[in-house]
Each structure stands twice: as C-alpha cells, then as structure tokens.
Amino acid sequence: MLELRGLIDAIWGLISGLLSGLGFSPNLISLIGYAIIAAVLFGVVALIVLFLVWWERKVSAHMQDRLGPMRVGWHGVIQTIADALKLLQKEDITPKAIDFPIHFWAPVITFVAAFMVYVTVPFGKGLIVSDLSVGILYIIAITTFTVIGLLMAGWGSNNKYSLLGGFRSAAQVISYEVPLTLALLGVIMIAQTLSLGAIVTQQDTIFKWYVWRQPLGFAIFWIAATAECNRTPFDLPEADSELVAGFVTEYSGMKFAMFFLAEFVNMFTASVIAVTLFFGGWMSPFGPDFGPSWLWFLGKTLFFVFVLMWFRWTYPRLRVDQLMGFAWKVLLPLAFLNILLTGIGIYIFD
Amino acid sequence: MAEATISLNHYLMLSGILFTIGVFGVLTRRNAIAILMSVELMFNAVNITLVAFSDFVTPAALTGQIIALFTIVVAAAEAAVALAVVLLIYRSFKGINVDRINFMKW
C-alpha cells in the first residue's frame, strides 16, 4: 500500500541504468547516488521546514484568536516561500568589528549539523539512508555541533548581546543534553540496540510503544528536548526582550535565514526522536502494514511539532538561574532514577 | 595501484605526525589553553594508534578500542580539572601566559 520504497527503487534503477549506459563506472554511479540522496533529503526536510514555519505562524495566530498570513496563496501557504525569497535578496550586512571567518561559518555549521541528523532517521518502511549501528549516539553527537555554531556566532559577532546569548545558549544546551541522553538510555537498555531502524521494528503495535515502559524517560526527554531546541519556555538564548535577539543580533539576510531554518529543523528532529524511540516511528499503531508507513511517521511527528508550538504559545519564559537549576537538580536526578528503575525492571521482568 | 590499500603504517605515521604537532604546541605556545589544546591533539594521536592496532592486529579482542575509550574519558576529566586550574591561574595572575608563571625559579 503506497510504500515509497518501491517507487524510489524503480526511479533509482532507471537513473543508474541510464548512467551505466553512458559509460560511468559503478563507483562514480554510487557517488552520484549519494549526492542525489543528499539532495533529495535536503529538499524533503527543507520542504517540511517551510511548511512548519507557515504552520507555526498559523497556530500562533489561531491561539491568539488571529488569522495569521492569509494573502499569499490559500490561507497564506506560500507566505514562507515569499519570505525566504525576500531574505535571499536582502543585503547581507557584515559589521566591521566581527571576526569574519568565525562569523561566516557559524550559521553554516549550525545548518549543516541540523541536517546531518537525517542520515539515520527512518522515514518509513525502507526509507532510511543508512541504518547506522550507533544511530541514536550519532544523532546525539551531531546535535552537539549546534552548540559550536551558537558559540561561534556569539563570539564572532563581537557584540555583548550576542556573546551573552551564545553563552546562555551553550550552557543551556550542554546542561540539558545530559538528562536528554540519560533519558534515552532507558529505551536503549530495553531495546538492546542503538539502531533506530531496529528500535522502530520492535514497536510494531501500540502496546509495544516504549512510552508505556518509559513514561518518566519520555517526560524527561521531552522537557530536555524542548530546551535543546531553545523553544519556549526555554528560549533564553534569544530572549528578544532581554538580549535584543541573542546570538543572531548581528546576522541578516541568508545567514539569518540559516539560523532560522536550523531552529525549525531541530524542532522537527526532536519530534522525530520522540516518535522513533517512544511512539513506534513509522509503525502504525494497529500492527504492521496498516496504511502507508511514511504517512504514519509524518503524522506522529507533526503532532509532536504541534505540541512544541503549543508549549511556546502557552508558557512564560524561565529565569536563567531557574533554568540551570532545573536541569541539574531535577531532571538529572530523575534521569538517574529512571535508569535505576529501568535496570530493576529489566532484572525482574527479563 | 599495487599498494593501494591503507596499511597499519599509514595510520601510525598519521598518528606520529599529529603527536609531533601536539608536542610542538605544548613546548612552544605561551597560552595555557593553547597548551591544553595541544595536549588534546596528543591524546588523539595516541587514540589513532590504539584503534589502528586494534583494527589491524587484534580485531577480535577490541582491546585497543576499549583503551581508547578510557583515554577519551580520562582526557575529559583532565580537561575539566585543567581548565579549572587555568581559571584559577587567570584569577591569580590576571593572565594565562605560562612563561609569566615562573616564580618557582632560582
């Protein structure tokens, strides 16, 4: 039923046949294949992100009893594309006192790191670029690059607001990364694997979703992931009212757009991890092969993205001291407790 | 290309070069944090060696990988303590250039 894998295989068969007909060597063909995959992946995620930006605006508008963008396209669907085009055209202002290479590479690193995660994400049945044996670890590792990007942006801008924003953001992201990783450990302990593909296939009905066995783990993960994405109530790094706009103060045009897009990609990533590890990924809740898998994946993920947006327009922002205290004094002990309980559970039930 | 494949010696050579760079940094940089970075380079050189031997000589036992793992952990601990020390030096000497910290001389 509407599985995309067959389609993709067919198209790839066509292309590779064409290329080998043109006399390309198999190595070159596989290289070209990787390039195509990367491009398609980028395109898909970029498309999703464009949709998310529009969606966020609509959700926020409706939550505040407004309409949001309405003019460009049906209910403003292509508003984001128009915005992106505008940003592309704008002048890229580079202040004089900046540390140029650092300033220049910061958004690139952030953006690329945000996309690199998708190499090992199972989008649907068979729709995974490379099911790495260390999948979750890979994702956690790659996401740390975001911090490097933020710090570079903060430092490179040579601006006190940027520096403070960068500091805050790095401290926050590093702090919340610890409980986040430890919360995921519970699932890993039960699943006995780090591979995302294997974890998804273990949860083939709604009853096998790991969220039932790891409710505490999921709660910790979700809070920490919200903080990782710098979403409200943890949006201190860019707190407009305090730090102007944090580390993005000195950015404009396309570079700003890169940060902006990376933020939405990270949001999508957090939802993807939640869905994959705790809610069965692309598996339908009613047993295997019930409806197209990629649709299930997309539906679940978008639901969690919606939850993130919901948070943003519901909760006030924390203070910076509360933020760190919460990570180290509440989430971290809870995460340890969760690991302990999981260990005891495994010992007792297996 | 006959000797096309990368042999153990290649990795060891790479490791040696990286190690030498690290040593040079440790011996010459004036800034304490730069020295720490150079030390990290040396650690990494050693890790490359360990993993290379693990991959080529004892692939089944994984000894090298595990020792490298321990090295990484110890390096992390070292970095934390060393940076704390650097911060303390910075507070006491208003600077972290190591050649200024020479009152343990004659």
């Binding site: 190595n27 290479p101 260390v134 590792a141 911090v147 490097i148 710090l151 430092w155 790095a170 590093i174 | 290309m1 096309a4 494949t5 990368i6 010696n9 050579m13 790479l14 070069i17 990286l18 030498t20 760079i21 040079f24 010459t28 940089r29 004036r30 944090i33 730069a34 720490l36 970075m37 150079s38 990290e40 380079l41 890790n47 490359i48 993993v51 693990s54 991959d55 000589v57 692939p59 089944a60 994984l62 990988q65 595990i66 490298a68 793992l69 321990f70 990484i72 952990v73 110890v74 390096a75 992390a76 601990a77 970095a79 934390a80 303590v81 940076l83 911060l87 303390l88 507070r91 972290i96």
Partner: protein, 166 residues
C-alpha cells in the same frame, strides 16, 4: 577507479584535514580560531575512527571531544581572554629549538615506521562491536571501568572546588 581508490582518497583527505587542522591549532594567533580548528581536527579524527571500523568510538569521540572537551576549551578561551587587540607573541623564545627537536623526532618516527612489518591479523571483528564493547566493559574491564568512573567523579568535584570563587 576502484573501491580501494575511494578508501585511499578518504584516508588522504581525512589525514590532510587532521594534519592541517592540527597545524592551525598550534600556530593560530587567535585562540578562538585555534579552538574551532581543534573541533575540526577532532571531528576528522572521528572520521579516521570510522575508517578503522570503530563506529562507536567515532560517535563517542564526537560526543565527548567535540561536545564537551572542545566546548570547555572554548569556554576557557572566552572566560580568560581580555578583549584587547594588542598583538603579542604567541610562541615562546624556545620555538626554534623545539621545532628542531620535533622535526628530528618526526624524522626518526617516519624512518622507524616506513617499512616496519607488523603481525596483521585476519580475524573477523565481532558482529556487533558496540555490544561487544559493552560486554567487555562489564566483564573483563569492569575494574578499570569502575576506577575511571571514580576518577570522573573526583575530577568533577575537584574542578568545582578549584574553580569556585573564594
């Protein structure tokens, strides 16, 4: 164009990244640049680990070195650098003797490693390396594992105590 060619290409590109990154780390005048190049170097080393089939170690390398150690370095740089544009010597006066010694050392190393044969084993690696490492850590290497965990705790407390303001 062969499979080996791709492997070689990867190795040489990665080696270039490692060495160039390393040289920048030790030679850059701007400490922040050094730190960023350190990240670059360490990431490239992770690539080398992948080439050596140590996927778990590569992930850990990125997680710990890039995510934690390099971050600490950057924090250290930010916390200790006075924002002045005075250009100071970034190397001390023994740079040239040290360079000579290092060059000698490197030459010696290259000479020694050029043709040395090693006992290459053809044994297969365990199917699931990550699982094998986990098992080994909990069985054969459990004592070092525990010792390292204690060391980490000590370092954590020690770092806090040392860095805390009076």
């Amino acid at each position: 164009m062969s499979d080996a060619f791709l492997t070689n290409l990867t190795f040489y590109v990665l080696s270039f990244c490692v060495i160039a990154g390393g040289i920048f780390v030790v030679s850059s005048r701007n400490l922040f640049h050094s730190a960023v190049f350190l990240v670059f170097t360490l990431f490239s080393v992770a690539g080398i680990f992948v080439m050596q089939h140590a996927y778990f170690l590569a992930a850990i390398q990125v997680l710990i070195y890039v995510g934690a150690v390099a971050m600490l370095m950057i924090f250290g740089v930010m916390l200790t650098t006075q924002l002045t544009n005075v250009r100071l010597r970034h190397v001390n006066e023994q740079a040239w003797p040290a360079f000579a010694v290092c060059l000698f050392f490197l030459g010696f190393l290259v000479y020694g490693l050029w043709d040395t044969p090693f006992k290459i084993s053809q044994a297969a690696a365990p199917a699931e390396v990550t699982r094998a490492i986990g098992t080994l850590l909990m069985t054969e290497y459990v004592l070092p594992f525990e010792v390292v965990s204690v060391l980490l705790l000590v370092a954590l407390i020690g770092a806090v105590v040392i860095a805390k303001k009076e």
